[in-house]
């Protein structure tokens, strides 16, 4: 199943790894380097799922999710947050912010792909 | 010093392996070097002399855009020297990553030996060029001297002087 994925992370290394993982899994990857940039990219594509980092310049992950959810067409778009902490608190925050799920960094490529399939088919 | 020097012996275990030498004349003498160390042979061109260099360093020439130091073998070996002529050649050799030109009078032959036909030069030799000879062999009655290229090159002390 080829998913179209928008991945937002301010770290180039993380973006590189996301791209590699997504492309290896046969997905189409779109990359953005912060929330603001993510919204700009989102204006041009219609992803099946979004992966986003939280702590980013200009517009952070929470703000980005807010802005995405504010668009009618993306009210229920699956959004996974990338976090380095897997604490329950952070998950609750992610969910409160409107995220669908979370991926703990550094991510295991297989798990990432599995998580994407769980939320996006 | 044993004969199985890395500079002349690609495979020191194979004592009977053929060793190919390029032989050439310097004055009245015949010398040779391991052909594996030879990069090319080119005609003599005037070298740009280097100040404060040892006399046997003729200078540097342009080897396709690279700066190539040229050692006059006759001077280096303490033989009688004539001014270089157009008939002279420069043998470009590579020793341990350094590329150097050797001015000789003329290239004569390519010789092939079993490695075990080589013998170390006798210790008693008092000639000045003794230090530059790595091994000797006899071919059809001619004595063939095999140059120790490492010793021929300008040493670090020479260069820094």
């Amino acid at each position: 199943m080829s998913l179209e994925v928008l991945a937002v992370d301010d770290s180039r290394t993380m973006r590189d790894m996301l791209r590699l993982t997504l492309n290896d899994a046969g997905f189409t990857s779109h990359l953005a380097e912060d929330g603001q940039h993510g919204l700009e990219v989102l204006a041009e594509i219609a992803p099946d799922v979004i992966i986003t980092d939280i702590n980013m310049p200009r517009l952070d992950g929470f703000g980005f999710i807010d802005a995405v959810r504010a668009q009618d067409s993306y009210r229920t778009l699956p959004i996974l947050v990338l976090t380095t902490e897997s604490s329950a608190e952070l998950k609750a925050r992610a969910r409160d912010a409107g995220a669908t799920g979370w991926i703990v960094k550094p991510f295991d490529p297989e798990k990432l792909v599995r998580a994407l399939q769980i939320v996006a088919g | 010093m044993t004969i199985a020097d890395p500079a002349t012996s690609p495979d020191p275990n194979a004592e009977t392996a053929e060793l190919e030498l390029l032989s050439f004349h310097v004055g009245d003498h015949e010398y040779s070097v391991d052909i594996m160390a030879v990069r090319e042979i080119r005609g003599w061109t005037r070298a740009t002399s280097l100040p404060h260099a040892p006399p046997y360093v003729r200078g540097v020439i342009n080897l396709r855009g690279a700066v190539l130091p040229v050692v006059d073998l006759a001077l280096r070996l303490g033989l009688d020297v004539e001014e270089p002529t157009d008939r002279n050649v420069i043998i470009v050799v590579d020793i341990g990553g350094r590329t150097v030109g050797l001015r000789v009078d003329a290239v004569s032959d390519i010789l092939s030996f079993p490695r075990n036909a080589l013998q170390a030069p006798p210790e008693m030799s008092a000639d000045r060029d003794h230090a530059f000879i790595q091994a000797l062999t006899i071919l059809e009655g001619r004595m063939i001297r095999i140059l120790d290229l490492g010793a021929v090159l300008p040493g670090d002390t020479d260069v820094a002087a």
Partner: protein
Amino acid sequence: MSDPMQEIRASFFVECEELLEGLNDGLQAMDDGDRDAETINVCFRAVHSIKGGAGAFGLDQLVAFAHVFETAMDAVRDGKLEVTPEILALFFQCGDLLYDLVRLARDDQELEEDRLAPVVEQLEALVETEEEAEEAVDFKPMTLSLDLPGLAPLDAGDGEGDGAAGDEARGENAGEGDGTGPFEITFTPLPDLYTSGNEPLFLLRALAALGTAQTRCSWDTTPPLAEYSSATSLLTWQITLETDSDEAAIREVFDFVDGLCTLTITRGAGAPDPSGSAPKPDMANDEPAPPASGPGSTPPPPAPVPDTPPAATAGAAPLASPVPAAPEPEASAPKPEPKPAPAPAPKSAAPAPKPAAQPKAEAKPAAANATVRVDLDRIDRLVNLVGELVINQAMLAQSVAAADLGGNGAIASGLDEFQQLTRDIQDSVMMIRAQPVKSLFQRMGRIVRESASGVGKSVRLTTEGEATEIDKTVIERLSDPLTHMIRNAVDHGLEDADTRVAAGKPAQGNVTLTASHRSGRVVIEISDDGGGINRKRVQEKAEEKGLIPPDQALSDSEIDNLLFLPGFSTASEISILSGRGVGMDVVKTAIATLGGRITIASEPGAGTTFSISLPLTLAVLDGMVVRVGSETLVVPLSAISETLSLRAGDNRAIGPHTQVVQVRETFVPLIDLGTELGYSTPRQNYEGAIVLLIAQEDGSRAALVVDAIEDQRQVVIKGLEESYGHVPGVAAATILGDGQIALILDPSDLLANASGLSRATPKLAEIA
């Protein structure tokens, strides 16, 4: 195919350098009083990103340290910790350690724990005072291997106990009946599950991929139609799953909906009970069918199905294929409307090409310049080729001149254009190798911090002109000399606080590092606001060491230049810092090999400035082509102040071996190049001789006698050191239009070796 992970790893270390630079900038800004929330945030993010990447590559030590550092910065960010000079100093130190860790990690090495431990302790102490209970560090580095075993969709493999879900498997009734039979799973989504973007169907499919699943759906709880709303729970699925996976794997599937559904998982010992409890619409399938596939199985209409039905997505094959790059504006027209569940998804229906967002997206942020990373070898090859081109052009020009075709206007103007083009190409190529000096200056910040704390002084480093660009190699080779000079400035240049205060200066000393372009060269200055050079003491010391004869009348600049004499700084005065057995003579030599010059200006009580003047590039040089004896030589144009033709009586002998030339009101030592280089014997008569007047930045001058001036032009520098070794008085070689090699003189080396001052001392050039 090169290993993509290796490439990412290499790229990670490049990113680390950038992040560390950003961290340093941020800390510097905070040190300058910036308390903007975003500033500390930038610092935090830099460390956080390093940690994230390091985790992916299993760089445990780096991860661990970054984590502690990050935690402390987090406390500052949250306002729990106030920024004090002490904390900033600690953060700077952490930044330095992080730099070391990154460097070492790149070479698969680690830092000695003794160097980390005290700093980690301080960091932890900072945070502990804040946080009653330290948050459990649950950041687990996990090394990636991208040998994805085929990445079979949803191939859960065998029991994965380390999953996030596994960590907190706290389902309602976990493992009631721990048999070996199939799992019985009951899953009832709560309304919030739908709004979170989760989709039960995908969950069920993921579950089914673990083994063989029998799924039954019931809508017992379905409210009357009137009460339909997205806030109502509607369905319950019961799944019988035969699988080799364990419960943790099952829970992982439901991890994201933990709390958004009611979930029970039990494991029966016996055979599965396929009949179940007779749910109403039986949708027993190996895989839950997509909603559209069966009328009875359509999920209740109000539940907004979040995305394209899977089947439709699968059919949308063109999605994965490359899309035309043209960003047509109308292409975004059929774009993301709410995707109504069963209707054909807009994007699979829309034949209009989508804008290729990926390449565009990466290039998008307006802030950053688009860059390409290129292997340095490739650039060097280009530089070499352009060098050949320049030589070739010169040879062609020479042949044309020799053939006496100069009268042909077309040839002459064509050649001129060719020359101009060649120069332009050369300049452009050289610019590729240019880099801002910023990274170098930042490293000096660290040197200042470390050396200041080493001698117990408070020192502030100010930098200017960080954006100034120089050849990459020059930057690399400047690091050691600059380090030494900065240490000198902190150690010897600046007075201790008491002396400063007594002199009416602020207690904190200042070291300034500036870079600027000045007439085709880059000038780097290292200044301190210390006491200036104690010239009396310097002269005494030079005399004590026998470097100069006693009681000579020396000008200030001559005394200052004594600092550059080999042997001036010796072990007796080597302090902890400026030690390491190197002196300013080594600095001078290092600068000289870069084609640079170094000069000193010092004012008692006000400070000292060292100026390094460097060529923009190491590859070309504007030179004057001269003939000496039978040799052709090139003298760097920058060193020549004027050319003269000597008249009778211009030169005077002041000793058996020393001649001087009177130039206006001053006497300049005469150096006969032919003699000096051993090309010819000294001439008897200098009348009519051609002289190049050399002026050094330190004020020293000399008159070089040559036989003829032949040309003035740009030459490509060919190193001599690699192929032969250092030749005194010679900087490098070049290839002239006729294919002959000409030596490029090094006037400062030549003067140093020829001048009376240095004759008594070892030659400077030999120290290198």
